[in-house]
Point group: C2
Chain length 209, copies 2
Amino acid sequence: MAYRETPRMRARKAATRQRIVDATLQLVAEGGFGNASVARVAERAEVAIGSVYRHFESKSELFAEVFRNATEIEVNKVAETLNGEGPASERLTAALRVFAQRAIRGPTMAWALIAEPVDPQVDEERLRYRQAYAELFEKNLTRGIKTGVFAPQNTRLSSAAIVGAIAESLVGPLSPAAEGLDGDAAQQLTEDIAHFCLRAVRPIEGEGS
Amino acid sequence: MAYRETPRMRARKAATRQRIVDATLQLVAEGGFGNASVARVAERAEVAIGSVYRHFESKSELFAEVFRNATEIEVNKVAETLNGEGPASERLTAALRVFAQRAIRGPTMAWALIAEPVDPQVDEERLRYRQAYAELFEKNLTRGIKTGVFAPQNTRLSSAAIVGAIAESLVGPLSPAAEGLDGDAAQQLTEDIAHFCLRAVRPIEGEGS
DNA sequence: CCAAAAAGTGAATAGTGATTCACTTCTACT
DNA sequence: AGTAGAAGTGAATCACTATTCACTTTTTGG
């Protein structure tokens, strides 16, 4: 026998894999998943087409991993904000702002994550992605209800509805067809989304717990 | 010369076209647009593949027409309800119920119209479809604000957010992956969606105009 | 009945892009 | 230096469907 896996090789392999993921991520950020054919990914990563398949079972699997990567960052930002200081209602507002502002900054990526038609395996990841947000919001709602800053409600439904409300409000402006928003319009949109969601969960005035 | 277009032939041609549309509609209702290949449509409509192309420029155009057909019915039902008797808030509740209940009854079709990845031409129609709902809701909001049953707000944004909230709340339960809802769960879901949206637009208690 | 024109047919073609695989190059160990 | 085994290669293949088009059938008015 002769060849044995060695740390150096392991590192090299991991690096190549990462280059493929990064190349895909770039291409998606530039033009969505539709922009990331295997041939293009290979070219950008400076590997042969076949090499992509040494590292990933299939294109779907590559996409799923890329989706997870991109998504994790976003979800974490929102989670951080939701877990920050202050009353639940203020945290929610701040989180909605973070979500919207980040989406508006990187509209192509946001659109790819939120709405681009891709394939079933990515759709599954997308479901999880939205689910992840919904769970974060749900926790926030539950706490807010306890402290009385939100009205009692079906938190499961409300959190899904919040995710939908944000997504739908953004999809129009984010879609590749639309021209971008200027700073003011982005600001206004962000605030209006936050207000809508806050109104939907706030308690009825004049009724204490 | 000899052949001239005659009422009889015109009718026949229209009937064939309609059979193609109906066949497509059926296939979409059964399994979404992905289930409706040209070959299958032709088979179901009992025409040759080529005949489909005598009536439609392309598959996309056929799909766009089918989408419009299916959509029109739904939008009209909601419009009727919104324009019914009673205060704007009650009409909105009723319309949200109609939307949700109909979607739950025909989940595959609803999913195809709301969320299924298809092609750019259908996506365009889908944009219009959501837009149509948004406009209906927007009119209702505007009236409700005038009569004081809703709080003053950015009606454009709120109507989009309502559409998103309904869609997102339903997409999970409607997706082909999910198993259907029983009657009670459907009822509950419907009510919770309506409540969420109503809370989002209602005025702050104790503040008159 | 006949010729002109349209409607109807479906096997063959074409476009796209993912996936394979026989082959080459590189690495690690004796 | 030799070699086992892995990593890397990319032209060729495959898979899937939409679309075409040469041909057949039907309809109609003379």
